[in-house]
């Protein structure tokens, strides 16, 4: 089973603190990590490969330092990695990114499954992998919480999808795209040998020319959703009101206030 995993490098939100706010983190970047949901995608790909054979290719579009995220995928056990990086791809939107990823997947060719994360913690769109499916014109299985079984020969897969209203078991033809949620698995740590192998690996970089994309389809020129400005969330004016007293007394005071606020 040949699988392509979509891996995005994102700012490490664990670095957020009193002194490092969201804007600073976006600007300075700081230490960057593999998008947490993409780790579940990598793990799922490795498990499917272990069960059915085949090859796992990790793909990332981003700045040159995104190669680090791909090295993590290689260290975990991916067979190969491809970085897609080109200044012409700057300031795109989810669809320009999806166009680039879909073109890369076509160039890789011969795939049974593409796996991405539920969403990226920087832009929180939960869209890119789904748009890749639309562009490749293959079925899309979102919010996958469990792999029930795959049959690469018959070209089918069965998964459990997480919906707000419950868990849905779906079967689909392959090739397909799916997105992973946290429940899917527990991502493995890279092995020592894996880390050594990844450190030595050379990761090919593809640009616009390699993918045959038109300039007006990608980057700022192709983006139909434009991020104008990014600001910090509005500071809440309300100061906390501390309720003092012994439990019964405090409970009475608080309940009075909540009734007055009409939330009960």
């Amino acid at each position: 089973m040949n699988i392509v995993v979509l891996v995005k490098q994102v700012p490490d939100t664990a670095q957020l603190s009193k002194t490092v706010d969201g804007l600073k983190l976006m600007e300075e970047g700081g230490p960057r990590i593999v998008n947490p949901w993409d780790e579940y995608a990598i793990e799922a790909a490795l498990q499917l490969k272990e069960a059915h054979g085949g090859k796992v290719t990790a793909v990332s579009m981003g700045k040159p330092e995104s190669a680090e995220a791909l090295k993590t995928a290689l260290a975990m056990g991916a067979d190969q990695a491809i970085l897609i990086s080109d200044v012409a791809m700057k300031d795109g939107d989810s669809l320009t990114t999806a166009r680039i990823l879909a073109a890369a997947i076509k160039k890789i060719g011969d795939y049974d499954l593409v796996i991405g994360g539920r969403s990226a913690i920087d832009d929180n769109m939960a869209a890119t992998a789904i748009q890749v499916a639309a562009l490749l014109d293959v079925p899309q299985l979102s919010y996958v919480a469990e792999l029930k079984g795959a049959d690469p020969a018959a070209k089918t897969i069965t998964v459990v999808r997480l919906r707000e209203s419950g868990r849905e078991t779906v079967s689909s033809k392959l090739p397909a795209v799916m997105t992973a949620v946290k429940e899917l698995n527990e991502p493995r740590y890279p092995s020592f040998i894996g880390i050594r192998k990844a450190a030595k690996a050379t990761i090919p970089t593809w640009g616009v020319a390699d993918l045959g994309l038109e300039a007006d389809q990608i980057g700022a020129a192709g983006a139909q959703a434009k991020w104008q400005d990014v600001s910090l969330p509005p500071v809440r004016e309300a100061q906390v009101e501390m309720i003092e007293g012994e439990p019964e007394e405090a409970a009475k005071t608080l309940v009075d206030k909540l009734v007055a606020e009409k939330v009960i």
């Binding site: 913690i121 929180n124 789904i130 639309a134 400005d229 990014v230 409970a251 608080l254 939330v263 009960i264």
Partner: protein, 327 residues
């Protein structure tokens, strides 16, 4: 191209999800500002009643596709109908609720149409003949203002429980148009094999009131007083990741960056310190109450009301008091 606005009304078993009405309310404002008509899209099987309801909630017209292939939400089948409708009718905007289904449907349709997408918006405005939206990014730590290019429709999903459900007007009338399904069953590559309903379980995203417990509850039995308060208030029970990772409560209850994003009217955090990743999932709740024995806990910076003390004493006292008042 028109100035009309299309809104998808999410439903299951013929019953609308309130997020669809919230989206319709946003659509009404946008259509008025653009000087266009508001059309609802209802997809499913035996959903004629919903079309009527959509008009009462503010739609001028409704497109209905009533077909056995559309009984349950399936991305390809639903997206094919909406894509075709959008190509024929050329609306200026397409709005949906940012539920799991709405997020995937909007993304898929926007890609098929080659148009701009803004997901999970908390503000939607019209400037000139185009939309300007605000949406949280970096798990709620920044807000991005997004505008659209020339492609139409501009596709937007709106965050649950941010926009009000419009008032229903039983006297309204409007035109209902039946459109067929766009794909035959044989052309749909996915089949639903089973469904395990979460009815009766936690529905954090819908809850008006959430009472959550963190590491401070100190064990699985520590969730009993949390549960008692949640039940008394008719609310749902949430948890911090620390409590979930400790195995005291299932992941379905987790609120935060890697759990659910919630926006109830009242969020009661008990024994939760207020880590940035937990705040990411709940800090836009309308009213936050924190019970924590550490007066320095960061949660107090986000709470409207705080109690410094032992949750095992204060939470049961709250439950008792609410029981008295709510009779």
């Amino acid at each position: 191209m028109s100035n009309n606005v299309f809104v998808w009304i999410q439903q299951a078993g013929g019953k609308a999800d309130s997020i669809g009405w919230e989206a319709l309310g946003v659509g009404r404002t946008v259509a008025n500002d653009l000087g266009g008509q508001l059309a609802a899209i209802v997809l499913g099987e035996n959903v004629a009643g919903l079309a009527q309801e959509a008009i009462q909630y503010g739609a001028d017209t409704v497109f209905v596709a009533d077909d056995a292939t559309l009984t349950n939400f399936r991305l390809e089948a639903y997206a094919a109908v909406i894509t075709k409708l959008a190509q024929e009718q050329e609306p200026a905007a397409l709005i949906m609720g940012a539920s799991n289904a709405g997020l995937e449907l909007s993304a898929y349709v926007a890609a098929k149409l080659g148009t701009g997408l803004a997901a999970d918006c908390t503000e939607v405005a019209v400037e000139g003949d185009s939309l300007t939206i605000v949406r949280p990014a970096l798990i709620g730590n920044v807000f991005a203002k997004v505008t659209f290019g020339d492609a139409r429709p501009q596709v937007v999903t709106v965050r649950r429980r941010v926009f009000p459900v419009p008032e229903m007007d039983a006297g309204r009338s409007g035109e209902i148009t039946n459109v067929g399904a766009a794909l035959a069953e044989d052309d749909i590559a996915t089949k639903i094999e089973g469904f395990e309903s979460a009815a009766g379980e936690v529905s954090l995203t819908d809850a008006n009131i959430i009472v959550s417990g963190g590491r401070g509850v100190a064990g699985p039995e520590g969730f009993e007083p949390i549960m008692a308060l949640a039940e008394t208030l008719g609310g749902a029970m949430g948890a911090s990741r620390a409590a979930v990772d400790a195995g005291w409560i299932p992941y379905a209850h987790q609120v935060g960056q890697t759990g659910k994003t919630v926006q109830p009217d009242l969020y009661v955090a008990c024994g939760i310190s207020g880590a940035i990743q937990h705040l990411a999932g709940m800090k836009t709740s309308k009213l936050i109450v924190a019970v924590n024995k550490d007066p320095e806990a960061p949660i107090f910076k986000y709470a409207h009301y705080g109690i410094v003390g032992d949750l095992f004493k204060y939470v049961p006292a709250l439950t008792e008091e609410f029981k008295k008042r709510l009779g």
